[in-house]
Structure formats: C-alpha cells, structure tokens
C-alpha cells in the first residue's frame, strides 16, 4: 500500500470497495494489528497502535471486533462457547457472561442454537454467529472482511439488511470490505474505492455511485 490515508468517524459505516488483490484486506489486518505498516502510523481513539514496522499495541488490546471472510468459527467450541471465549479472556464474571451471550444470540435470532457446533449450522447461521461473536465484546469498531461473499444472493441480501439494522441499533463503527458494488452502496454510508493499494476515491455512497455512472456514460 502506498500513500494510504484514512480517518474513520465514530459510529459511521465505511465500506472499502476494490478488486481482489488491491489491498483492502490488508487495511483491516493493519488495523487489527496482525501486521505492522512498513511506514506510517495507525491511530485508534487518539492512541498510536502501530508505527514504522512496529506493533505498539497487540490485537487483543485494541478492542476491535472482526468477522473474517471464512468466518473462522472455532469448530471445537459450541456457539455459546464461541461467544464466551473473548468475554472469559477479558475476565467478565460468569453471570454477566451468560447474560451477554444470551442477549447477543437473541439479537441475531440464534438463541435456540446455543449448544450447536459450527459444523451443524447453515451458512447463514454461521454468519450470524460470527457477527454475534464479534459484537458481544462491544468493540470500538467492527471490521468485516467480505463476510457475505460465499452466500447465495437471497441470503446475501437478507444479511446485508441485518448488518445495517444491527449497526443502527447498537451504533458501532463499521469498516466493511467487499468487491461487490451493490454490497458497498447498500451497507456503507461512506465508500472508499481502492486500486493497487491506493485510495482511488472516497465519498458518500451516493457520490461514489454517481461518479461510477458518470464514468460509464
């Protein structure tokens, strides 16, 4: 990535749109702290978390949630244990853990599948669990890496609306990576278009959509 500069407002929904290999997943991995930038700085809530090839704050200290492209649900844990894992790591007392897990599963309409293993769930159910696992920790921001790319169109459309509903209800900051224009415009209030590791364009969903139409004409 070169000359990449981005500021995200609290509570906004930003989608990052680009072809595969353009570096959009790298943006999320840099933010999460899995990789360090060769140059430049990453600031979260006013605090430098990565700078010049160094990770200053480990991923678990950044309070970010992430939904991976392949979801990465832990196959050996039940749905509720998948949600509980992070809460337990943060020392949340048992009673509170159980309440938060139950509440989050209700929110994503999965309360009746709490004891199931990920392999026993449908694709759509797995998406909901991955989302719930990230949100149960009440993160500063939620990073989503093409989470709907493997779903059929009907499920994809339904879950897009679900993600927007949850974001509006809970008010978390959302960074959503996709290669689908429709997804980007439907989910994002702001859209960033990436090309070969650079910011090609950034603006409201309506502005970017209009710009693309102009180019076509």
């Amino acid at each position: 990535m070169v000359d990449f500069s981005l500021a995200v407002e609290k509570g906004e929904r930003l989608t990052i749109l680009g072809h595969s290999g353009c570096g959009k997943t790298t943006v999320l991995r840099l933010l999460a702290g899995f990789v360090a930038p060769d140059a430049g700085t990453i600031v979260l809530h006013g605090e430098r978390v990565s700078a010049e090839g160094k990770i200053l704050k480990d991923p678990e200290e950044r309070n970010l949630g992430m939904v991976f492209q392949d979801l990465a649900l832990w196959p050996h844990l039940t749905v509720s244990s998948n949600l509980e894992f992070g809460l337990r790591a943060r020392g949340v007392p048992r009673r509170e853990r159980e309440e938060r897990v139950r509440g989050m599963l209700q929110l994503v309409q999965m309360e009746d599948r709490a004891r199931a293993r990920p392999a026993e769930l449908s694709g759509g159910e797995q998406q909901r669990v991955a989302l719930a696992r990230a949100l149960v920790l009440e993160p500063l921001a939620l990073l989503m890496d093409e989470p709907l790319s493997s779903l059929n169109l009907e499920l994809n459309l339904r879950l897009r609306r679900e993600i927007v509903r949850l974001q509006e209800e809970l008010g978390f900051t959302l960074l959503y990576v996709t290669h689908s224009r429709e997804e980007a415009f439907e989910i994002g209030t702001r859209v960033l278009v990436m090309e070969q590791g650079r910011v090609e364009r950034i603006g409201s969903a309506a502005e970017i959509r209009a710009g693309i139409k102009e180019l076509r004409n």
Partner: protein, 532 residues
C-alpha cells in the same frame, strides 16, 4: 497392470508380509503336541511374575508417554511456530536419539550415571552408586525412552500446529494473548494428532525390549525374547507377546474409532499462506536458554559422554575390526529396505491420499498397526511363518530381514507420501490423464517427479529406521548375517565399555548423515506440510 490392480496388490503384499506372520504365530501357539490347546496361555496371568511383568510394562509405557508428550507438545509448538533462534538445529538435535537404537542412548547415559561413569569421577563413588542404582530400573528406562521418543510428539505437534487455519487463531488474538490462544484454540484443534503421538509413544515403549533388557527391568518384550531365544519355547514366547499384541489392537482401535470421529471440521490453512509466527518477545532469551538446557541434558551430554569414553583411534580400529562386516551389511540392508519401503509405502500412500479403493482406510490402519506392533512380536511371527524346509530361501537369507522391515515400517513411507501428494494439485495428474497417459505413465512422469522431495525424505526416514532396527533383526537374522545394532547388542554382555561406546558412536554416525540430509530437504521444502 492398471491402478486398481496395482494398489490391491500392494495391500495384499503388506497383509502377506505383516498380518500373515501374526496370524501364523497365533495359530502355532494354539497347537500343542498336534492338538488345539490353550496350554501356552494358561500360565499367562497365573503367577506373580506375570503380574510383575504387567505392572512393569504398563508403568514404563505410561511414564514415558506422559513425560514425552508433556515435553514434546510445547517443544513442537515452540520449534514449529515461534521465532525461537536455531529452530532447525534444535529439531535435528532432539531427533538424534530417535534415529539411533534406544539402547545406544542407554549406553550413553550409563557412561554418565554408571559406577565408572563421569559422575563417579567428578562427584565420587557414593553419588555414582546411588545414580547407578536408580538408573537400573524404571527411572533409568523411562529417562532413556523419553529422550528416544520425545521427537514423535514434538514432530507431530510441529506439523499439525502449522496446518491450523491462521484465521481461527487470529480470531482468538483479537481478544487474548498467544498463550491463551494456543491453550484453548490451537491445542484442542490438533488434539487428534497429539493423541496419536501419545498412542504411538505408549505402544513403542510397551514393545521396547533393548533398553529394559540392558537396564535389567523385567517387562513383557524381554520375557518374550528370552523365552524364544534362550529356551526356544515358542508357545511361551507367543503367550508373553500376546498381551502386547492385544493392547496394540485395542489402543489403535480406540484411536481409530473414537478420535477419528472427534476430528473436527477443521478449515485447513489456505494454500501458499504461511502460518503466523509467534513472536516470543521478552521471553525469547529465557525460552532459548530453557530449550538449549533441555537439548544439552537429553542429547548433548549423554552422547558427549559416549564420545569421551571412546576417544581413542585404537578403540575405533578395534571396533571396526570386530564389526565392519556388520556395518556394511546394515548399510546394505537399510538401503534395500528403504527402497522397497518407498515403493510399497508410496503405493499405499497414493491409495490413502486418493481413496482409490473402498478399503483405503483399512490399509492405513494396517500400516499403523504393524508400525506400533513390537518388533519382537513381528520377529517371532516371521520366524513362525517362514521357518519351514520349503521356505529356507527366505528364512535362511537376509530376505527375512527385509520382510520384517516392510512389515514394520511401511507406515512411515506411506504417511510421508500422503503428505507429499497433498501438496500436488489434483489437476496435475488429471491433465496427464486427459492427455491420454495411462496410470503408470502418470505415476512415473508426473506424480513421482512432483513428489520427489517427499519421496526422498521417505527413503531417508526409512533408511534410518531400518539401520537402527533391533527388535526384528535380533530375532530373525540368519547365522553370520547380523546387523550392527545386533552385533553391538550381543557384544554388550562381555565387552569393555569403551569398545561398546565406539560401536555406538559408529552407529550414530551412520544415522547422522541421512538425518543431516533429511534436515536439508526439510529446510528446502518448508517442512513437508501435512506430512503426518
């Protein structure tokens, strides 16, 4: 011959070489003076001595398994996943005891802890007297076998931990540190591999007879060997081997039936993506010191003592005079055995990888069962089957040793082949098939060249295991055709310690060369991904 016929033939060859002797041995033990009888088994658990053997055998196997797994699992993860310096060197260092016959490690330790050992000269005879007393018994046997079998859980943990999908670990890293991620995500995911390693260590310890015999600790394999070679009591030898065979069947059956069902729907690591390396940070230096200390204690110290004890050109000259013929034979048999093992294991590995025949799972289990079967049991079975007037061309020649190698070690080459084939896209063979190439042509021109690094590794591993073999060779070697491990072991009873030390050093040197080559291939291939 087409694909189905060749693969079926390979399975039948292994069954004939490995299972038939076991069946023959069982049958022969049930016939006493021409009649069907259980007389050989009647005294099996009737006397107090038999119960002592049971207690000793299981105590040794259990302690070895617990200690080797407890040390091997974290060591494997440290060497496979972290930024610890000199990881390749450590992998080779810890693997050395596995590459030598276990009794060589026992001889090495005796050079330190024995009454005339290094400890006696440095700390006095009183301390050495106590350590020698402890060494001849369960603690000594467990120490030697832990050092010998530690590489099994270590290597399996290394390979398996590198195949876990990094996303599963990263999802954990968002909320907690690496220690907790390894404990609650990585290790549970690789648990089937760890338990397989523990099962193998348990069975190999249970079947080991060289070390307990040398350290005078009565266990079933020693009893079986003594009954067979000293008293020529075939029935009693088989009866003493029966508990080992039964335990091997039961444990592998459990491993197969329960653990395989428990294998989760693990999303494998995406092709071409390296597993994330764990930065040890401030812990790097202390962890490096701890691993170095363990390596020095378990490997460097005992083997250095062996070198010191034999440090004289005259001793080596004498050792070579007494055992040069055995050394040459060992190298020849090991090279022939390794070549046959690559052929048979390669075919079976292909069968297991492609699942080309409905009984591929049975073939995989058969290789594992024979690998875990004590060498002495297989040896008695081979003698029982081939010691007949019409088959002296097998029984009275080195062919019987090669058959023993094939029976015991095919699991190694088949498993490594499976790992090598997993790295070749199926489309490679399919493209050749579409182009009109028959199966053999595809094997020879496409699959084998693409899997050459894995096949070379398989040959070297097989060579090392054939070279170090004692359990089978000791029982089946024809007169005047002994191998170096057998010659050394038989000389141990009445030869000076420095001569035995020199023979052990020669044996280690013979295995270090292929081990070094293996390390080079390992480094070049990036660790034979998924080879376990």
């Amino acid at each position: 011959m087409g694909r189905r016929a060749t693969l079926t033939l390979a399975v039948l060859v292994l069954a004939a070489v490995g299972l038939l002797p076991l069946a023959g041995m069982l049958g022969r033990s049930l016939v006493v003076e021409g009649r069907l009888s259980l007389a050989s088994y009647e005294g099996l658990l009737a006397s107090g001595r038999q119960w002592t053997l049971v207690r000793h055998s299981f105590a040794l196997a259990a302690w070895t398994t617990i200690l080797a797994t407890a040390a091997g699992l974290p060591l494997g993860i440290l060497l496979g996943r972290t930024d610890l310096p000199l990881r390749h060197v450590f992998v080779l260092l810890f693997s050395i005891p596995l590459a030598a016959p276990p009794y060589v490690t026992a001889v090495s330790w005796l050079a330190i802890l024995g009454r005339q050992g290094l400890l006696a000269t440095s700390l006095g005879p009183a301390v050495a007297g106590w350590t020698a007393t402890q060494f001849f018994g369960l603690p000594g046997c467990a120490l030697v076998l832990v050092a010998t079998f530690l590489p099994i859980p270590m290597l399996l943990a290394m390979v398996h931990s590198r195949t876990v999908n990094p996303r599963l670990e990263e999802a954990g890293r968002l909320v907690t540190g690496w220690t907790e991620v390894l404990r609650r995500i990585t290790v549970p995911l690789i648990l089937p591999g760890v338990l397989l390693a523990a099962t193998l260590v348990f069975l190999l310890s249970l079947g080991e007879f060289g070390v307990p015999m040398y350290l005078r600790y009565d266990v079933f394999p020693v009893e079986s060997f003594t009954q067979f070679s000293a008293f020529l009591n075939f029935g009693a030898a088989t009866a003493a081997a029966a508990p080992l065979a039964v335990v091997t069947f039961v444990l592998l059956g459990l491993e197969w039936g329960l653990l395989r069902r428990e294998i989760r729907h693990i999303q494998p690591r995406p092709e071409g993506e390296a597993p994330p390396q764990i930065a040890l940070g401030k812990a790097r230096r202390p962890v490096f010191c701890a691993v170095t200390a363990l390596g020095v204690l378990l490997v460097v110290l005992p083997f250095a003592a062996l070198f010191i004890q034999s440090a004289s050109p005259g001793v080596y000259l004498e050792a070579l005079t007494r055992a040069a013929d055995s050394l040459l034979r060992s190298l020849t048999y090991a090279a022939l055995g390794a070549s046959l093992l690559v052929l048979l294991g390669g075919l079976l590995g292909y069968l297991i990888h492609t699942r080309a025949l409905p009984f591929w799972r049975g073939a995989d289990l058969m290789t594992l069962l024979l690998f875990a079967m004590p060498g002495s049991v297989l040896g008695i079975g081979l003698v029982s089957l081939w010691n007949r007037p019409g088959t002296s061309f097998i029984y009275a020649t080195p062919v019987i040793i090669l058959l023993g190698y094939l029976a015991q070690y095919t699991a190694l080459t088949s498993r490594i082949t499976v790992g090598a084939l997993a790295q070749i896209p199926a489309a490679m063979e399919e493209a050749a098939q579409v182009a009109g190439a028959g199966w053999w042509r595809r094997m020879v021109w496409i699959v084998a060249p693409l899997a050459r690094q894995g096949l070379m590794a398989a040959w070297l591993v097989a060579f090392i295991f054939c070279l170090r073999d004692l359990g089978i060779s000791m029982l089946v070697y024809p007169p005047g055709r002994d191998t170096l491990p057998v010659r050394t072991f038989t000389l141990m009873a009445n030869s000076p310690a420095h001569l035995i030390a020199a023979l052990c050093v020669i044996l280690i040197a013979a295995t270090l060369v292929p081990l070094g080559l293996l390390g080079m291939i390992w480094k070049r291939s990036g660790g034979f991904r998924g080879s376990a």
